[in-house]
């Protein structure tokens, strides 16, 4: 019956991608211990997918309420910039030897960055839930202005961070695995628990499917929608910290550029409908992994950069079509013999 589980198809797609890697890229699955931690392509993919997974988790809930948040990338830039500026540090030349000085205690910097992200979410939430603007337009405003704000903070410069502990977030290792994976796991588990063990999941779905009925049943629809946008931005905020920490600098111009599109793509590849309602958190995580694996595969196979986009789009088309119920019916019609074997 596993075949009918909603998670099956995204998983299958991921497996097929990995299979292609296995055949095409020698040593793709090779893992070794280097400097006391695991090292290899798979680790890279997971590590690099971490921000995308976080964004996708947040986006899943927004999409479940029939919304969309295209300001994720801008939020990433803002939170990353705030953190980098506060932790910051400058290099001073001291008799020809470089020395690093930190500015603000790291926890304050992190809290401020998350605060900025939550503020972004509150802004979006207020526009969507409070004013009733259409989500895509409401978040378009922050998408445009947010990156500008981040650039304003940095004067358009890349802020390099020289504070070692800060790097742990995005490129540190714990028990041999990248620390970012623990963060992602924690966010995922907390979110999943929130959805399962509280009524939040039910409420979000109800609001997404039939907001009028939900309100008449006594749900605080506006509060729920507001919360969802704040949550999404908070996820983006963490993603921003991770990206900043990983490249040891905040690039307000480019950090998280187009991350929103990838996040939305991940959510859909994971089997959540953009029409709202039923959602699939685990699916979104797998969707994000699919995207990152695909990107990584393109790099590893050594395709010329001109064909990147074509390959990516073709794969997305194929995955989407193969996931659709209609395709399944067609397939069954075309290959009736396979029915018994596959449907089990």
């Amino acid at each position: 019956m596993f075949v009918h589980h909603p998670i099956f198809r995204p998983l299958a797609a991921l497996a097929i991608l990995l299979l292609i890697d296995l055949i095409m890229v020698p040593g793709f699955f090779h893992l070794e211990i280097k400097d006391g931690h695991l090292y290899g392509s798979l680790i890279d993919i997971a590590n690099r997918a971490a921000p995308l997974i976080l964004a996708a988790i947040g986006m899943t809930l927004v999409i479940a309420t029939r919304g969309i948040d295209i300001s994720v990338g801008a939020t990433v830039a803002i939170s990353g910039t705030v953190a980098a500026m506060l932790v910051g540090g400058t290099m001073v030349m001291n008799n020809g030897t470089p020395e690093y000085v930190a500015n603000t205690p790291m926890w304050i910097a992190l809290a401020a960055a998350m605060g900025a992200a939550v503020l972004c979410g509150a802004w979006n939430g207020a526009l969507v839930a409070g004013l009733g603007l259409q989500p895509i337009v409401a978040t378009l405003i922050l998408m445009v202005a947010g990156r500008g704000l981040a650039q304003l903070l940095t004067d358009g410069q890349i802020i390099t961070v020289y504070y070692q502990p800060f790097f742990f977030l995005g490129s540190g290792y714990l028990f041999g695995l990248p620390f970012s994976l623990y963060i992602v796991a924690a966010v995922f588990i907390v979110t999943a628990l929130l959805m399962r063990k509280t009524a939040l999941g039910l409420f979000i779905q109800s609001v997404g499917i039939n907001p009028v009925a939900a309100r008449l049943a006594g749900l605080k629809t506006a509060v729920l929608i507001f919360f969802v946008y704040v949550f999404c931005s908070a996820c983006a905020g963490v993603a921003g910290l991770m990206i900043t920490s990983n490249i040891k600098s905040a690039d307000a111009n480019n950090a998280g550029l187009l991350l929103e599109l990838d996040a939305i793509l991940a959510v859909t590849l994971g089997g959540t409908s953009l029409a709202g309602g039923k959602f699939n958190l685990a699916g979104s995580v797998i969707g994000a992994l699919i995207i990152q694996t695909l990107t990584y595969t393109i790099y590893s196979i050594g395709l010329p950069p001109e064909v990147n986009m074509v390959v990516k789009s073709v794969v997305v088309f194929v995955i989407c079509v193969s996931q659709s119920a209609e395709f399944k019916t067609m397939w069954r019609r075309a290959f009736p013999a396979a029915r018994g074997g596959k449907a089990q």
């Binding site: 063990k197 509280t198 009524a199 939040l200 039910l202 409420f203 779905q205 109800s206 499917i209 039939n210 009028v212 009925a213 939900a214 309100r215 008449l216 049943a217 006594g218 749900l219 605080k220 309602g277 039923k278």
Partner: protein, 515 residues
């Protein structure tokens, strides 16, 4: 079974051995049906018997798993509604299927616009639509969007739309469930006219009166099978009910009603006042009115369509905000700015529009059922799954909800069963006042009886109920007190027994004269 063979001519449409299964449900098994020209053929059966499914198969919405559709001797396989229309089969579905954003006139004419020089002739369309609705004695602005009119008007629009095509076969799935008596009469006179012209009409209803008022032939369905086909003249009401439910009923519906009426308490005075609304009104929707409901009282709200009953209920529930007036509960003044406030004060509201305001279609029966309760308990205190299942099972049994399981999405239940789930949603919250707006719409006789009995029992235990229904006899039968509405204002208040159907109509009509 008495298969009557005095058919006038050859059937214009035959269904032979139609079967259709959904995952987990055999909705139809081997159903046959004959439609003769110049006849009204009524399809009867309990909720979930498969009536709507049969109609959808017939009109190309679903493909049958087995069986044949024969139209005028030719087997056909309608692929879509449009295809069916081309074959001369025109349909009004149970759930209103129109476009809320388009104007009334467009909803009638879309797909077959009057044209002038190749472009749509809007002026002529408006005139024709107005004339068409005029024939059904509906006078509205046909250029306004459909969404602005109440469900009943929408239903009439859907019917006018189907009348427009020169069809051989007209199918109506519970068209009367949101119409009042006057409108039903109108509809029937239109249908009789069509019958005269030789059209074959397939009609689904749960109302026995209507069945006998118009049908020539009756097919009874039970659990996805055809129980039998009868001439209306040959089948008594009691027989019909027996055949629908598959076992002799304990007592005919009318008898129960009489017995109930006999032991009715005398007046409203025995109830402790629970809710009192003074001067409650909203501009353009309801003129200020007073209302008082006591604990354990069933207050009926009668009136014609659009008389403002739903509006009054929505104001009481905080779904719309009142411009004027106050609401006091247990002597304390309360102002509801949202349904949440009302729910917190112990009020429940079962809306008349289940598709848009009630059911959360993709969620399961269980989730729909506990939604209001969970909303009241808040996000953090999730009801344990065990308890949810227990509640769901309990109410599925108590209300006789026909569903494959409690995890089935409510959207795949039949219309009547969805209605029951939504009723259960409020029952589990154990409200002190339950507002029921047309709760029995689209529910079969037996279920209606069961539900009203159930509700009455709760009422006796102290729950206050505000009961809104377009079925006057029902309102008169069950209410302790009746408020008659007309023209969006209060028309008068009467204790039980002070009114009968004719007097209520008189009250409403009198209002019309004075206005």
């Amino acid at each position: 079974m008495t298969m009557n063979s005095s058919a006038p001519a050859n059937p214009v449409l035959e269904l032979r051995g139609i079967s259709k299964a959904f995952t987990g449900v055999q909705a139809l098994s081997g159903v046959s049906l004959n439609l003769y020209p110049g006849e009204v053929h009524t399809l009867m059966g309990q909720n979930g018997a498969g009536k709507s499914t049969l109609i959808k198969v017939l009109t190309g919405v679903y493909a049958p798993d087995q069986g044949q559709i024969v139209l005028a001797g030719q087997p056909i396989q309608p692929q879509s509604t449009l295809d069916a229309q081309h074959h001369g089969i025109s349909t009004v579905y149970q759930e209103v299927n129109l476009c809320p954003n388009l104007s009334v006139a467009e909803n009638i004419f879309i797909g077959r616009y009057p044209r002038k020089l190749g472009r749509i002739d809007w002026a002529s369309m408006t005139t024709q639509a107005t004339a068409l609705l005029d024939r059904m004695q509906i006078r509205i602005d046909v250029t306004a969007p459909l969404a602005q009119y109440p469900l009943a008007i929408q239903q009439m629009v859907a019917i006018s739309r189907s009348l427009l095509v020169s069809a051989k076969v007209l199918i109506l799935d519970e068209p009367t469930s949101s119409l009042d008596e006057k409108e039903v009469d109108l509809l029937f006179s239109v249908l009789r006219g069509l019958r005269e012209q030789g059209m074959a009409i397939l009609f689904v209803t749960h109302f026995l009166d209507q069945t006998y008022a118009i049908s020539d032939r009756i097919t009874v369905m039970r659990s996805g099978e055809r129980e039998g086909e009868y001439l209306a003249a040959d089948l008594s009401r009691v027989e019909l009910v027996n055949k629908m439910v598959g076992a002799p009923t304990a007592a005919p519906a009318t008898a129960v009603a009489q017995a109930d009426a006999a032991q009715a308490p005398a007046g409203g005075s025995r109830f402790g006042a629970f809710l009192r609304a003074v001067g409650l009104g909203r501009k353009g929707a309801l003129q200020p009115m007073d209302l008082e409901i006591g604990q354990g009282e069933m207050l009926g709200l009668a009136g014609l369509l659009g008389s403002g009953r739903t509006e009054a209920a929505r104001l009481l529930f905080g779904a719309d905000k009142a411009d004027t007036g106050t609401i006091t509960i247990d002597g304390k003044e309360r102002n509801f700015s949202s349904p949440r406030d009302a729910i917190a004060a112990g009020i429940g509201f079962c809306s008349e529009d289940r598709k848009h305001e009630g059911a959360v279609l993709e969620l399961s029966v269980r989730e729909n059922l506990i939604l209001a309760l969970q909303a009241r308990m808040g996000i953090l205190r999730a009801i344990p799954l065990k308890r949810q299942q227990q509640l769901a099972e309990e109410y599925v049994k108590a209300l006789g909800i026909k569903t494959a399981s409690i995890e089935t999405p409510i959207g795949s239940l039949s219309g009547g069963n969805q209605q029951k789930v939504l009723l259960a949603r409020w029952l589990v919250t154990d409200p002190r006042l339950l507002i029921l707006d047309e709760p029995t719409r689209g529910i079969d006789v037996r279920a209606k009886q069961e539900i009203m009995d159930y509700v009455s029992a709760l009422c006796k235990k102290g729950m206050a109920i505000l009961f809104i229904s377009s079925e006057l006899p029902e309102v008169l039968r069950v209410s302790d007190r009746i408020v008659v509405m007309r023209d969006r204002k209060q028309g008068g208040e009467y204790p039980r027994g002070a009114l009968d159907e004719t007097t209520v109509l008189h009250v409403i009509a009198a209002g019309d004269q004075h206005a």
